[in-house]
Amino acid sequence: MAYDKFSKITSPAIPLPVENVDTDQIIPARYLKAVERKGFGDNLFRDWRYNRDGSPKTEFPLNNPMYSGKILIGGKNFGSGSSREHAAWALYDYGFRVVVSSFFADIFKNNALNNGLLPVVVPGEFLQRIFKTIEKNPDAEFEVDLQKQKFTILESGESVEFEINPYKKHCLQNGLDDIDYLVAMKDKIAAFEKTK
């Protein structure tokens, strides 16, 4: 999938202090009927964002004009449930480039990394500090530096390092994906098949 190269992002963040945000909430199944990867952002968090009549739920953070930015801060176990990559597409399409949580579900994490959306794992305590920072000042800015693998609360200067495997880091920094890698090793794969 083509996505923008990732280096450093400085942005305010949108808080979603809910745990176990499953991919059915990120994008409900009834919006998975497209055959192209377009427009999923419109239905991001559909049932939390809109009433049944289509009017916005004003209390939901994405509808709150106080909040903006390319970073989503979620509660622990973010992205559990269905393997639908549409969840990562919807977050990216909406404009997010980073999702921060103390804990991601495995499939979601892979899907995010394959689509230029950086999942940043921070300690639970630090996550609460991020939420508190936004609560005090919704315009507070954060810096995500992929090269240094560092997430910083700019107001206070507090920062944490986050993990990412070197291969995935390289892919994100260069906008590469695994398919290029695999297609380039087809001969090796064919040779492996003969040994089975």
């Binding site: 176990n20 499953d22 899907n111 695999l182």
Partner: protein, 466 residues
């Protein structure tokens, strides 16, 4: 030699290389595809000018979207029809076997794999669906993948995956009457939570596990993902081998004998080390029911909804949000709660054994007035077997009707949606908000507990009738 787990043995036999500082390149034996998570992958191939690398190792069927009535007619929903048509066209273009609606091989992708004998011990199996973990019941490494990964498998028959940690869950003892594989699974998830398995691949072991039928094992492995694990597996044994024997894609003759010999070696070494271990006592498990909005929010059916004492902060808020969605309060008993809908089906509990259990329970009884019941076989073969055994007649007499195969109300992508605010006892796998329709309230349970609810109209302990 270093002691290995069953998972290690299969993984190592399929690892082509390990990228420095990165994931492994893992060879995939069988790839299953359906209409929802494959179109963008095929589009990706087209954009890159690639062909499917090994078309005979991919099998397709439409399941997520399809109606469960009048399957002989054109699909009414335009977008669903388009996705199904697209799958068919992509399969034609790339020479992939496609099991169309109304044909003998059609059904939910995780039901037909085992039925056709495509699922075998020692394999690596992937599908763009998290419940691919089902196939682990045969002693295979099987897990759900995203669409980018579907494209990888189509393009190269490989994916790039970090090797997960290993967990063993041992369940010893004899299950009590009325307690099923579904209850074991919901019990485990209620104990280790929906994130307890994250980063791990589970091997299930112990006397309560080996005494399960293949159908029961599939139900258990299916729900591994609901604990956050990539998948779950059970070492193959005689039960496994007897199930595979004689199926369409099972080996025959000398090949069969060789395969069985290999399969018999597929087990964890006695001194193999797991990163995480849990042990549970099967006699402590009662029929389970969920009360909240994730599969970890489950209790024994005679129990009450846990109280918030000791919870704080976002834990408590998330918990109360879930109860509010369900219209329940902490401390309430689950028994006697109103039920509007009953759904029997899905890749979790849509196999013949599930319909036998449900039918035996409702035989000679009547569906409660006010309960709408949707009974959806997991596949054409399951439906045919139901009719061959005369279960359909028993069901009709009890006031139930059978629908046609598909994922149906499990994720409500088709017309089978539970209306807003209504309560459904469901044999499926997820009770997330809106999973079975916007505003629908789901209680996950076994086919027996679903049957008890269907005839009484309230949450009922099935053991009262056994």
């Amino acid at each position: 030699m270093e002691a290995k787990t069953l998972f290690d043995k299969i993984w190592d036999a399929h690892e082509i290389e390990k990228v420095k500082g990165g994931p492994s390149v893992l060879y995939i034996d069988r790839h299953l595809i359906h209409e929802v998570t494959s179109p963008v992958a095929f589009l990706g191939l087209k954009t890159r000018g690639l062909k499917v690398f090994r078309p005979d190792q991919t099998t397709a069927t439409p399941d997520h979207n399809v109606p469960t009535t009048n399957q002989h007619l054109t699909i009414m929903d335009e977008l669903s029809r388009h996705q199904v048509d697209m799958l068919k066209r992509n399969c034609q273009e790339h020479d992939i076997v496609y099991h169309d609606l109304q044909t003998d091989g059609h059904g939910i992708v995780h039901i037909i794999g085992p039925e056709l004998g495509l699922t075998k011990p020692g394999m690596t199996i992937v599908c763009g669906d998290s419940h691919t973990s089902t196939h682990g019941a045969f002693g295979a490494i099987a897990f759900g993948i995203g669409t980018s990964e579907v494209e990888m498998v189509l393009a190269s028959q490989c994916i790039m995956q970090p090797k997960p940690k290993k967990m063993r869950i041992t369940v010893n003892g004899k299950l009590k009457k009325g307690v099923t594989a579904k209850d074991i699974a919901l019990y485990i998830i209620s104990q280790i939570s929906t994130s307890g398995g994250t980063g791990h691949f589970i091997e299930y072991a112990g006397s309560a596990i080996t005494s399960l039928s293949m159908e029961g094992r599939m139900t258990l492995c299916n729900l591994s993902i609901e604990s956050g694990a990539r998948g779950g597996m059970i070492a193959p044994d005689e039960t496994t081998i007897n199930y595979v024997k004689g199926r369409q894609y099972a080996p025959i003759g000398k090949d069969w004998d060789e395969a069985v010999e290999q399969w018999n070696n597929l087990k964890s070494d006695p001194d193999a080390v797991f990163d995480t271990e849990y042990t549970f006592d099967a006699t402590q498990i009662e029929p389970m029911i969920t009360y909240g909005t994730n599969p970890g929010m489950g209790v024994g059916i005679t129990q009450s909804i846990p109280k918030t004492e000791g919870m704080e902060g976002s834990d408590k808020n998330t918990y109360l949000k879930a109860l509010q969605y369900m219209g329940y309060s902490e401390g309430e008993k689950m028994l006697g709660k109103k039920v509007d809908y009953v759904f029997v089906g899905s890749c979790t509990n849509g196999r013949i054994e599930d319909f036998r259990a449900f039918t035996a329970f409702v035989k000679g009884r009547k569906k409660a007035q006010g309960v709408t019941a949707w009974l959806v076989p997991g596949s054409q073969k399951v439906e045919k077997q139901i009719r061959a055994e005369g279960l359909d007649k028993v069901l009709t007499e009890a006031g139930f009707e059978l629908r046609q195969p598909g994922c149906s109300a499990c994720l409500a992508m088709n017309e089978d949606k539970i209306p807003e605010g209504k309560y459904a006892v469901s044999t499926s796998n997820r009770n997330f908000e809106g999973r079975q329709g916007p505003g629908a309230r789901t209680m996950l349970a076994s086919p027996l507990t679903a049957a008890a609810a269907a005839i009484t109209g309230v949450i009922t302990d099935p053991r009262e009738f056994l």
